[in-house]
Symmetry: C2
Subunit: 340 residues, 2 copies
C-alpha cells in the first residue's frame, strides 16, 4: 500500500509500505476513505519534536472495515467508521467517565499510521464508531474532521463551560479553534469572540457562528475581551494554541469563576501558581476524549446540522502529502485533506 512517512524534519514522503495485518484479536484493519494532516504533525516537521527514525504519520481517518480480529464483536466488516488518535477499550472506569484518551488500556489510535491506504486499529470495538451508512463523497470531510479537530474543539468548548447565556472567547484560529467556535455555537453560547488576525480564518469563524472578531493578542487581546464583557472577562475561554502567551491570554481573558478549556498541547508552559490562584478560574483540558463525543457529532453531521468539513481548505492526493505539509507549515492552508 501507499503511506506517508517522515524521514526527518521537513522530509515527508509518500512511499510503498507493507499492508497492515491483524496482530491482536481485538484489532481491525480499515481501508481509509480520507485522512488529513494535523497541526501536531508539524511539531516533528519543524524539528520541535525529534524524528529518530522513519515514522509513519497520521492519526485522523474515516474508512470502511476490511478485516477484524477474532475478539471484535461490535465492529463488522464493511462498516463505515470513524476513530480518533487514541484507541480505548471504552469499558474501564476512566472510559465510562468519558475520558477515553486516558483509558487504562489506551494505545495510539492509528497503530500503523493514519496517512495510508490501510490502517490497523487496536481495541476496535471500543475505539471505532460506525456511521449510519457510507457517506456521500461530499460529506466525507465532516466525519473526518470529527476524528480529531472537531472532537477536540468540542471538548474544549465543553471544558470551557460554553452554553446558553455564556460569552465564549476562542484563543487560536487554527482548525481546532475554528471548530471550537462551531461547538460553542451548537452548545448554545450567546456570544462567541474569535481571536484572529487572518482574514480567511475570521470569515470561517463568522461562518461557524462567531459574533465578534478580536485581532489583538496578548495583553491587548485581554483588554479587548474585557471591553466586550463589561470589564469582567469571558465566562468561557477556549485555548487552542499551547504556548505560554496563549495560555496566559486565555486565563487573563476569563472572569473569576469562569472556565478555561485548553486543548493546545502545552510545550514549555509553566503556569504561575499565585496568578492562577487569584484568578479564580476553572482550568480543564488535555488530550480530548474525542470518543466521548463521536456518536453525537456523527449524528449532527448526518442530519446536516453542522458542516465542520469546511475547515479543510486544501485537498490533495496522498501522493502529494509533502506539498500538504509544506502548505500547512507556511500557513497557506488551515487544514489539508488527503484523498486516494
Amino acid at each position: 500500500m501507499r503511506g506517508v512517512v517522515m524521514h526527518a524534519p521537513g522530509d515527508v514522503r509518500t512511499e510503498e509500505r507493507e499492508d497492515p495485518v491483524i496482530v491482536e484479536p481485538t484489532d481491525a484493519v480499515i481501508r481509509v476513505a480520507a485522512t488529513c494532516i494535523c497541526g501536531s504533525d508539524l511539531w516533528p516537521y519543524r524539528g520541535q519534536d525529534p524524528v529518530n527514525q522513519p515514522t509513519p504519520m497520521g492519526h485522523e481517518y474515516v474508512g470502511a472495515v476490511e478485516q477484524v480480529g477474532d475478539d471484535v464483536n461490535v465492529t463488522k466488516i464493511g462498516d463505515f467508521v470513524v476513530g480518533s488518535f487514541f484507541a480505548s477499550d471504552n469499558t474501564c472506569e476512566i472510559c465510562q467517565a468519558g475520558y477515553q484518551t486516558h483509558c487504562v488500556n489506551r494505545q495510539p489510535g492509528a497503530a500503523t499510521g493514519g496517512q495510508a491506504e490501510f490502517i490497523r486499529i487496536p481495541l476496535a470495538d471500543g475505539t471505532l464508531v460506525t456511521t449510519p451508512g457510507r457517506p456521500d463523497p461530499e460529506l466525507i470531510p465532516s466525519p473526518l474532521a470529527a476524528s480529531d479537530v472537531l472532537g477536540t474543539g468540542w471538548f474544549a468548548a465543553v471544558a470551557a463551560g460554553a452554553g446558553p447565556g455564556k460569552t465564549v472567547a476562542v484563543v487560536g484560529d487554527g482548525a481546532v479553534g475554528l471548530l471550537g467556535v462551531l461547538a460553542a455555537k451548537q452548545l448554545g453560547a450567546e456570544r462567541i469572540i474569535a481571536m484572529s488576525r487572518h482574514e480567511t480564518r475570521q470569515k470561517l469563524a463568522l461562518d461557524f457562528g462567531a459574533t465578534d472578531i478580536v485581532t489583538e493578542r496578548g495583553d491587548e487581546g485581554v483588554e479587548k475581551i474585557k471591553e466586550l464583557t463589561h470589564g469582567l472577562g469571558a465566562h468561557s475561554v477556549i485555548e487552542a494554541v499551547g504556548t505560554q502567551e496563549s495560555m496566559m491570554q486565555a486565563i487573563r481573558s476569563t472572569r473569576a469563576g469562569g472556565h478555561v478549556g485548553y486543548v493546545g498541547v502545552s510545550h514549555d508552559v509553566a503556569l504561575p501558581g499565585e496568578e492562577m490562584f487569584f484568578s479564580g478560574v476553572h482550568l480543564h483540558g488535555g488530550p480530548a476524549p474525542v470518543r466521548r463525543f463521536l456518536p453525537e457529532l456523527i449524528h449532527l453531521i448526518w442530519d446536516r446540522k453542522i458542516d465542520p468539513g469546511k475547515v479543510f481548505d486544501l485537498t490533495l492526493p496522498l501522493d502529494q502529502a509533502a506539498e500538504g505539509y509544506q502548505a500547512m507549515d507556511e500557513r497557506r492552508a488551515t487544514k489539508v485533506l488527503l484523498t486516494f
Copy 2:
C-alpha cells in the same frame, strides 16, 4: 479598645487602639464575640511576607452589630453576624455567580483588623450573614470556624467535586484540610483519605469523617493513593497547603477527569504545562468565596449537624495573642481561638 498588631516578624502585641467608626455609609461596626489566628497570619509572622509597618491583624470574626451606616438596610444593630476575609456587595454579576471573593467592589473584610474588640466591616449588607440568634457560648467556635477555615475547606471540597460515590483525598492536615474532610463527608463522599503524619490531627480527621489515613508524602503519598484506588487515583483531591510539592502531590493523586480543589495560597508555585495537560484533571480554587456558603454552614451549625469548632485546640484571651501565634508557628496548636 484592645487589638492585635504585628510590628515585625515574630513580634505580635495586643495593645490599645482607637475604636473603629463608620467611615462609609455602607459600613457596620461589630463588637467581636470571638476571633482567631489564621494559618495565613503566619506568613508575615515567619518573615515570608513583609511587615512594612505596624499592622492590625486578623480577618475571622463573629460578633454583634454595634453601629451601622446610613445605607445599611439588611443588617440591624444587635444582629449576631458572621463575615469573612473579603467584603463584597453580593449583588454584582460575579457575586451572583457565587464568587464573592472576586466581587467587583471587594475590599478587605475586616477593614480595621479582626483580632480586636471592635471591627469596621465594609459593605455590611453584602458581607455579613445574620445567625438565627445569639449562639450559646459553647457554640461560638463553630460559626467562627465558618468565617474562614470551614468556608475555605468547604469550597475546596465543592471545587474538587466531592459527592456521593466519590473518593476524596485531602493534602494538608491544617485546619482547612481537616474541615475539607468534614465538608467532603457532609457532601456525601464515599471514601475520604486524609494525608497526615500528626497523631492528633489524624484523630480529628477520623472524627470529621475520614475513612483512611495516609502518612506518606510526595511521590510515596501519590503511590499510596493509587494503591487505595485501583491504580487510578482519587476522583477528588483537596489541596490545602500551597507549596510546589503539595500541588504536584494533589495533581498526581487525581485520576484523569477528576478534580483538584486548591485553596492553599500558592507561594512560588509553577505548574508544568505539559504534565498538567496530560494529567487530564480539572483544576479550580483560589480565595474561597466563603460568603456563598455561609447561610448553609450556619444552618448546619445551628442544627448541630456539624461541629467545626472542634478544630480549635487552644483558646486564649486576646491579651495572650502573642502566645497563640507562637503555638501555631511551632505547630503546638492547629488553630487558636481568641476570647475577651
